[in-house]
Amino acid sequence: MAHSILIVDDEDDIREVAALSLESIADWKVYAASSGAQGLALAIKYKPDAIVLDVMMPVMDGPATFRELQKNPATANIPVLLLTAKVQSSDQRRFADLGVKAVLFKPFDPLTLADQISSALGWD
C-alpha cells in the first residue's frame, strides 16, 4: 500500500523537489504545507503516515510544530522527521533529543530521499 506523507517547509523550492521525488520515485501520496500552522491543520485533516518537518520556519518553527503535534491526540502518534540545513553536531543532538524519529539533512538527494525516510521509519 502506498504511504502518505506530509511535507512542511516554508521554502517552496525544497517542498516541490521533495514532493516530486517522493511521488515519482516512491509513488507516495504527498501533502504539502508552507508553514507550521498549515502543517498542523493538514496533519489533523489527512492523518498522514509520517511528517517531514523543516526546522527553520518563521512564526512556528519545526520543533514548535512538533510539540504542537505531540500535544494533540489526533496527531501525537504520527512519526515526525526533521529536515535541516544545519550540520553542527550540537544542533543535531538538540533535534534528536526532541523525540523525533530521525533528522534528515539538506541538501538531500531526490533520488534517495524516499529510501532515507523508509529506512528511518522501518518501511523497508
Binding site: 521554502e11 523550492d13 525544497i14 516530486l20 515519482s24 540545513a85 539538506k106 541538501p107 531526490p110 533520488l111
Partner: protein
C-alpha cells in the same frame, strides 16, 4: 530505478530549477550586495541577517539540484554572516560569492 524513470525525474528537476531560478538568483544577489557592503565597510545588521538567511536557503537547496559545491560555498557564507558583528573586509568573501554566482549560472 529504471533509466527511463531516472530520466523523467531529471527532466522534472530541470523544470523546477528553471521555475525557481529567479528566486535562487535573488538570494545570490543579496549575497553580492552584502559582499559589496563589506568591501565598503558599510554592512548593516539587517543586511548581514538577510545575507545569513539567503546563504542558509542556498545551502539547503543547491545540492538538491546537484550543485554540491554551491552548497559548500553557501554554508561558508552562512557561517560568516551568522556571526555577530560586521565581517572584516575580505577578498575571500567576494571571491566565493562570485564563484557561487558562476555555479548557479552554470546549471542549465
Amino acid at each position: 530505478m529504471e533509466p527511463a524513470e531516472q530520466s523523467a525525474l531529471s527532466q522534472a528537476l530541470d523544470q523546477l530549477w528553471a521555475r525557481f531560478l529567479p528566486q535562487i538568483e535573488e538570494r545570490v544577489s543579496i549575497l553580492e550586495s552584502a559582499a559589496a557592503a563589506i568591501s565598503a565597510d558599510q554592512l548593516s545588521t539587517a543586511q548581514r541577517e538577510a545575507a545569513s538567511a539567503a546563504a542558509h536557503k542556498l545551502a539547503g537547496v543547491l545540492g538538491t539540484f546537484g550543485l554540491a559545491r554551491g552548497t559548500d560555498l553557501a554554508r561558508e557564507l552562512e557561517v560568516t554572516y551568522s556571526r555577530e558583528g560586521v565581517p572584516a573586509p575580505s577578498a575571500h568573501i567576494a571571491t566565493i560569492t562570485a564563484e557561487l554566482r558562476a555555479i548557479v549560472a552554470s546549471r542549465k
